[in-house]
């Protein structure tokens, strides 16, 4: 049975609409270059870390589960479980960022950062166009990580808020809308993972 949403939740959905277009701009540009330079894009696969990426996907899905449960317990007003699940969500979030940054470190060691002495000895013929993919890789995952940081900040606020006021079936909007945001960030990653990590893994 469809139900009415309140203003704040609707506002969050409209905001997520803008977020879709924000990331969508990059996904669109990515699609075009991928069609233009299929070989160069596929050649990057051996430098990606699909296992780390896969682990990170799983971590983020777990954080989505704990976030959804935090919202669920806010709906029934269980302060203690809200606290536990929010903190679990944050732990998963921090873990994700940790893995992400260790990947960045690995790429930096391999000279795969386009503006920091890019080297591509195995496929010199793709030296140029591979940089486009790595630009996308760093910009897209970077913007995604930025959103993760914002989400973690919001959740810190929520944890404190949870101690001060009681969320219950009448009022759990802040948990709900921060949950929406977190799930959205998860969804972005669900697309980033196959598009960036698994381009030419089969070759």
């Amino acid at each position: 049975m469809p139900q009415q949403v309140d203003s704040s939740t609707l506002g969050m959905w409209v905001f997520l609409l803008t977020e879709i277009m924000f990331f969508g701009g990059m996904f669109g540009a990515y699609t075009i270059y991928r069609v233009m330079y299929p070989g160069a894009f596929a050649s990057t696969s051996k430098y990606m870390e699909p296992v780390l990426g896969g682990i990170n996907t799983a971590v983020l899905i777990c954080s989505s589960l704990t976030m959804a449960l935090a919202v669920r317990y806010a709906q029934i007003g269980n302060r203690k479980l809200i606290r536990i699940f929010l903190i679990l969500t944050m732990i998963f979030g921090v873990a994700f960022i940790g893995v992400k940054f260790s990947e960045y470190y690995l790429h930096w060691k391999e000279h795969l950062v386009p503006w920091m002495g890019f080297q591509y000895p195995e496929h010199p013929e793709f030296f140029r166009q591979a940089q486009i993919l790595f630009c996308f890789y760093f910009f897209m995952t970077g913007f995604h990580a930025l959103h993760m940081f914002v989400g973690l900040g919001l959740m810190t606020w929520l944890v404190i808020r949870n101690e001060k006021i009681r969320f219950n079936e009448e009022y759990y909007t802040p948990v709900e809308i921060i949950g929406l945001y977190w799930h959205f960030v998860d969804i972005v990653w669900i697309f980033l993972f196959p598009l960036l990590y698994l381009i030419g893994a089969n070759k």
Binding site: G39, E125, F127, R128
Partner: protein
């Protein structure tokens, strides 16, 4: 005070066609404007407020009217579309007998080169009645080649070729403008297109050309860079035979077929693995990105075109041997550095980006004190 014109001179086949469409659109626009202005004025005066207490009877609207004034304008607009699209479509690809001229744009000049080697700056000479095809490349930012008298304009975009063609109809000197904003001296990036009688043009072209033809210069580059060690002119080489290549359809190893045009040759020089000819290996040819500037690539292209056995335009058929061209002093390395100082192109073997980066670093620090513009101030 110069004399006043409503339209620029019309000096090409395209200009006459475009003007006709233009006048049609102006007529439609004038009629529509008059109708709407008349409606506004008539209603405003006829139904002006005569009494403060009078409130007119409401009128809900009319579906029939709404449909009428949606459909009829749209039908008129469809005539705009089809007429405009037909002219545009016709102007997209040059006829096979078009004469080739090459244009390289850079901040802030137009460099023109004819296949026989004649070079001009900010000038273009063309014969009347002869289709001319310009193949255009940019060394730096986006420019736009605009000749109002031909009613034609085409952006010149870095990293690719854009071409345009026209058939001049009236001798005279006509404006050439850069129409896409390209930096400090954008408004100084202007020149002249001179349309000449065929005879005069041929005389001019001969008197002007002291250097070797573009094809011969291309051939020199071709040999100096060692292209000829693999691209043998028979079917034995490790790389495809280039004789008769230009204009032919090439079967690729992924099953696609492409036409070997200027853009294809350019791509093959700079990005050899992009399109591998069926039956050949990839990763054999190195990229020449950063080793050749746009002009040199055009010369190589012209050389490969000259190898086409088929007929060509006035100049494409001109077969040139390894004759001694005088004016291109010294090695190609010199040519790369000397005649053109371009961004990110040099004859050194270092990756092109490093140099561009270094250059960009000292030029593009927004926080730093304002550096001088690359071309110097006015």
């Amino acid at each position: 005070m110069p004399e006043f014109h409503l339209l620029p001179p019309a000096a090409a086949v395209s200009a006459t066609g475009y003007d006709l469409l233009w006048w049609y659109e102006v007529a439609v626009a004038l009629i529509m404007t008059v109708v709407i202005f008349a409606g506004v004025f008539f209603f405003a005066i006829r139904y002006r407020r005569r009494s403060e207490s009078y409130v007119p009877r409401p009128i809900e609207g009319s579906k029939l009217l709404e449909i009428t004034w949606s459909v009829i304008p749209f039908l008129v607009m469809l005539t705009f579309f089809f007429w405009g699209a037909a002219l545009y479509f016709r102007n997209q690809s040059a006829p096979p007998d078009a004469m080739n001229v090459y244009v390289v744009a850079k901040q802030w000049m137009w460099k023109v080169q004819y296949p026989n080697g004649v070079r001009e700056i900010n000038e273009l000479h063309v014969p009347v009645g002869q289709p001319v095809k310009l193949t255009m490349a940019s060394e730096d930012v986006i420019h736009s080649f605009f000749v109002p008298a031909f009613r034609l304009k085409r952006d010149v975009v870095p990293g690719r070729y854009n071409d345009m063609w026209f058939t001049p109809t009236r001798p005279g000197r006509y404006h050439l403008f850069c129409a896409e904003y390209c930096g400090t001296e954008h408004s100084g990036m202007v020149g002249w297109v001179t349309v000449m009688e065929k005879k005069d043009f041929e005389n001019w072209l001969v008197s002007g050309g002291a250097e070797g033809s573009m094809a011969s210069q291309g051939q020199k580059i071709f040999q100096q860079l060692g292209c000829s060690t693999c691209h043998l002119f028979d079917e034995q080489g490790r790389c495809p035979n280039l004789r008769g290549l230009y204009g032919s359809r090439v079967l690729l190893n992924d099953g696609r077929t492409v036409v070997a045009d200027e853009a294809y040759i350019r791509e093959s020089v700079l990005d050899p693995n992009a399109k591998i000819v069926a039956g050949f290996q990839k990763d054999i040819m190195p990229t020449f990105q950063g080793q050749l500037n746009e002009e040199e690539i055009l010369e190589v292209t012209e050389y490969i075109k000259s190898l086409a056995s088929q007929h060509g335009g006035m100049f494409t058929s001109e077969q040139t041997g390894p004759t001694e061209g005088g004016g291109r002093g010294g090695s190609i390395a010199n040519a790369g550095q000397g005649t053109l100082d371009t961004h990110g192109t040099s004859m050194t073997n270092q990756p092109p980006r490093a140099e561009a980066n270094a250059q960009a670093q000292d030029a593009n620090q927004p926080g730093a004190a304002k550096p001088a513009a690359p071309g110097g101030k006015k």
